[in-house]
Symmetry: C2
């Protein structure tokens, strides 16, 4: 399988995640086109820079102002924030030919469904990125830690195109895993994200260490995980209680880590409330899970992030 | 029954509530002694002023710096904030003779128990004050609205001393009701206070109108009430679902009302977290109620009010 087997690639949403994965693919010779807004002029003039694992990748890349300028592709990588999903309705169509695949690297639930509803479920893949990235300047990304990516077909098992994409990412130096049960993986990630990202905001700016150090909040974090497990299981995703216990234990090593949603909130950027809390709540409740703590947490978060009252 | 039948009265905690009820009793000739701290000099010099229902009550009152100075009384009115309850251990003993009654006007649950454990259950009465008061200056109270007070024996039905106290308050112009089931009345008040005082803080400074206008928060307010009803019922206090529905409906007329805990929080004063949320949660859970939303709300509130992170 060669890199060129991926064909022409578009990256929609060229923040840190899009630039990192797209840039690493470009570095091994893939034909990658970036849709850019704020960083367009800087990247056209100075290229894209990725500082990763002690080395610096610097290269000129194909940067575009519109998806019409990019035109039909074989693979579209969606890395927008989920709060901007409505803009996909205009951005995606110019990129499609009959067999274009679309892979969303976005957080939470509902993104594959969004794409599938509009452009056909058969096109859609999804990926979970476990990576710490920082955009330090226009066109400049620092890769701080991790980088694993789990990729799956939406509602299907493994496939040749999935294997090809994972293989290309691996050649680009990224630990990529094809997974046969993408949605289960999404729920597993939510077991951590729902309590720790959520309490971080609702408790007024609480780092992971803050939550773990407060016995009352720590117990709520674990019980929130039980709400998530309940929803997941009723939807057919078996996740064990021990997995949740381990999520609490492993968090101790994170120290005063600020979950990404807390940073978004503190920096007054949109918070991905619906993808991380709203959609899991709706899906779980539709399947018969009560999820009472998630319900209250969601209610508080949707208000806290829609007003400026508490933003520092 | 004459006013003097109440005998010598001490008011411990001479904030707005203590000054109002104590001052109104003094105005009809009762022998009332106020324990004062911050306002002592001002009240000794200028007396106590209560502006109520279009008239102004102004009188010299007996103000003291210590309870030893007051000495044994027939009735002790406790109107401290519950967050200062630990100070009662020193304040109360000098006020007691063998048959001294103690009535707490404090909020929430656990206050009668606090007094009963230390000085005997047979002394204890409690009262719920439905009143809007403002302390506008040292020794100056404005009575804004309401004023009803429900008084009951702790763990007992009606009694002559209870009837005498209620009758004296009525002569002072206060709508006082003796109630045979004080703790049930406390739970009924919590049906409103737990959601509306709690969401006001946890949702970042949400008035009653803000909570009602947000359909997601409004639904959580009602479901929080169901948690409270569950706890109350398991403790033997029958409160109907219709009562909770009515609490939501009647709140519409309150407009942008700031619940008292929200004002405390915004003005960086201690918030009565344990009396309003912690103790009902512990009592309800001990009786087998899950109260999941109250559990999360309490966890958030105890953190939000113990840090300065979010205080405006």
């Amino acid at each position: 399988m060669t890199t060129s087997s991926l064909g022409k690639i578009a990256v929609v949403g060229s923040g840190a995640v899009g630039c990192y994965y797209g840039g690493m693919l470009a570095e091994i010779g893939a034909d990658v086109h970036f849709l850019m807004r704020a960083d367009l002029a800087a990247v056209r003039a100075g290229g894209l820079t990725i500082r990763t694992q002690g080395k610096t990748v610097h290269r000129q890349v194909q940067a575009h102002a519109t998806t019409a300028e990019i035109g039909p592709c074989d693979l579209v990588i969606v890395a927008l924030k989920t709060t901007a999903n409505a803009s996909l309705d205009e951005l995606i169509p110019p990129l499609l030919h009959e067999r274009t695949a679309i892979v969303t690297l976005q957080n939470g639930l509902g993104n594959e469904e969004y794409l599938a509803t509009r452009w056909g479920a058969e096109r859609v893949l999804g990926a979970l990125c476990f990576v710490c990235l920082n955009r330090t300047a226009p066109g400049e990304i620092v890769h701080l830690d991790h980088g694993t990516i789990s990729i799956g077909e939406f509602g299907r098992g493994l496939s040749p195109r999935l294997e090809a994409l994972a293989a290309a990412l691996q050649r680009a130096g990224i630990e990529a895993h094809p997974v046969p049960n993408l949605v289960t993986e999404r729920w597993r990630k939510l077991v951590w994200n729902i309590p720790f990202n959520g309490l971080a905001i609702a408790a007024g700016g609480a780092t992971v260490a803050d939550v773990l150090a407060d016995p009352v909040l720590r117990a709520e974090a674990r019980t929130l995980m039980s709400d998530v497990l309940d929803g997941a299981r009723r939807l057919g995703h078996e996740i064990s209680d021990e997995f949740a216990d381990f999520q609490i234990e492993r968090s101790a090593s994170m120290g005063p880590y600020r979950p990404s949603s807390m940073i978004d909130w503190q920096e007054r950027r949109p918070v991905e409330i619906e993808a991380i809390w709203g959609e899991p709540l709706r899906q779980g409740q539709a399947a018969g899970a009560a999820m009472p703590r998630l319900s209250l947490l969601y209610a508080l978060l949707q208000r806290l992030t829609h007003t400026d009252l508490l933003k520092p």
